[in-house]
Amino acid sequence: MFKKILIAYDGSPVSKRALEAAIDLAKKYEAYFEIISVIEELPKYAATVGEVKEIQLEAQKHYHEMQQQAIAQAAAAGVTLVDKVLPGHEVDTIVGYAEHHQFDLLVVGRHGHSAIRKKHPGSTSANIITHATCTVLVVA
């Protein structure tokens, strides 16, 4: 049923549960499986390009390390996981990426991305459901 599965991942406990579900589905359907993390920490109205670049590099390193653990977890279950880190607004980026690359299933955690700055937990997953053009699985 699902040939391309995308998991939105930020390393939070609920996104780890979403990862487990996504690994299970990817294995069952033998699907192409990709993990995406979004860098939201880029400073708005920066004074120097360097400020933006340094924060981007630090975040990239952080998410890359986090995704390597997810890749190892998937590999242990016999599933290949392709990693991707992109900067941008979380909902626009995840939904846009899924749409652009024609994923047929998007897996997200209910209280996932950027918990620190979110006033309303779950608003990200709610917005993803609203805007996504593919099937969305929200893991609680």
């Binding site: 708005k44 900067p87 941008g88």
Partner: protein, 388 residues
């Protein structure tokens, strides 16, 4: 207020700015300016000679970094389009603001020139963050916008350095020294960095600082401004800078931790909220004086070279922050503008970093660009190939 207490309060503000910046995802510069305003208006902080000196050096260091961060390959690739858009983006608000301040507001010629330069700027850093977020840095439009920002920055640097020169033989010394350093730097600097670099005592950063301090000292003696040589010095070292990740990181750490906070906090400290509120109408006029000529000057060229995203390009070219603040601080310190004019100019510059960016992102943002479609399609075929 004694020096020790002043230092403690300043460092509390500097630390607080960093914490707020991290927590709210805003640039540390904007927070530092805002805390400087609070310090100057509510905590009784006043610039002292040492703060003014560090602030001045911070401005020159920021200008050097702006030059060093120029991607010369992008500039060459999109030279014609970016030159025309960047030049129009500089000239239209420069001439428009200068004429408005002189003829309509009755400012002195020198004050009108400061306003023209401060409002002519574009912020590459503000623009860069927006382009990264939308995945546009590697696209045609992204490259044209970034290269155009470099051209506008150069226009600002040239105007600020040349408009206020009072030519003496010391000006000649300044020009000769600057030219010699800039000519020798691409060959000399790599040798110095190779011989003395990669040490915790940082001889290479001290070398760069020495050159910038000499620029500042000679510019003062020669009645000019060090912004142009600092920018070009950075520009000629940009290739080496971009290839040396360790140097980039160390220089940025030293700059952001210890030097540039003084520049932005000092800028904020000199803003009078009382005068700003009393001149609110002038602030609105200044915002329009920056934005309308930018629109009139930049839009036709943007329409020609990036027809699909002409308004987005124009709005991003209408941002400003660092160079505008540097120009305003220069005008205040040189006595060309008074505190009310300075307060209005800095507020205009800060608002111009925010308002056009918000409008561009809210109503004119191009669709996000995602690359590597082909790679993913190939991978999908490999995984699913046998089943289809």
């Amino acid at each position: 207020m004694n020096e020790q207490l002043l230092s403690v309060i300043l460092w509390v503000l500097i630390l607080l700015a960093s914490v707020v910046s991290v927590e709210f995802g805003l640039s540390v510069a904007i927070i530092e300016i805002s805390l400087g305003v609070i310090g100057g208006n509510f905590l009784g902080l006043q610039p002292t000679p040492w703060i003014t000196f560090f602030a001045g050096f911070g401005g020159i260091l920021l200008t050097f970094l702006a030059g060093a961060e120029v991607d010369t390959a992008v500039m060459k690739e999109k030279f014609k389009e970016s030159f025309l858009i960047g030049l129009a983006s500089f000239l239209a608000p420069f001439l428009g603001a200068m004429a408005y301040c002189y003829y309509v507001l009755g400012w002195t010629p020198e004050a009108a020139k400061v306003a023209g330069v401060a409002l002519s700027t574009t912020s590459l850093a503000v623009v860069y963050a927006v382009l990264v977020e939308t995945g546009l840095t590697e696209t045609k439009i992204g490259k044209i916008i970034m290269a155009s920002c470099f051209v506008t920055d150069m226009g600002t640097a040239i105007a600020l350095s040349l408009l206020f020169i009072e030519f003496t033989w010391l000006t000649l010394v300044f020009l000769v020294f600057s030219t010699a350093v800039i000519a020798a730097a691409p060959r000399l600097a790599p040798k110095i960095f190779q011989r003395y670099g990669d040490r915790v005592i940082e001889p290479e950063i001290k070398f760069l600082f020495l050159i910038l301090i000499i620029f500042m000292a000679l510019a003062k003696l020669g009645a000019s401004h060090a912004i142009l040589p600092a920018f070009v010095f950075g520009l000629v070292l940009s290739k080496m800078f971009s290839a040396n990740r360790l140097l980039q990181r160390r220089l940025r750490v030293v700059a952001f931790a210890f030097i540039t906070p003084f520049f932005f906090i000092n800028g904020g400290m000199n803003v009078s909220l009382k005068l700003l509120l009393a001149n609110f109408g002038l602030l609105v006029q200044m915002l329009l004086v920056k934005q309308i000529p930018k629109l009139i000057g930049t839009y036709p060229f943007a329409k020609k070279y990036v027809p699909k995203d002409a308004m987005y390009t124009t709005l991003l070219m209408s941002t400003g922050l660092t160079m505008g603040t540097i120009s305003s601080v220069f005008g205040l310190q040189a006595g060309y503008i008074n505190q009310a004019q300075f307060s209005v100019l800095v507020a205009t510059v800060v608002l111009s970093a925010i308002i056009p960016t918000v409008i561009a992102q809210r109503w004119f943002q191009p669709k996000m660009e995602f690359i590597e479609t082909k790679e993913i399609d190939q991978a999908v075929t490999m995984v699913n190939g046998n089943k289809n």
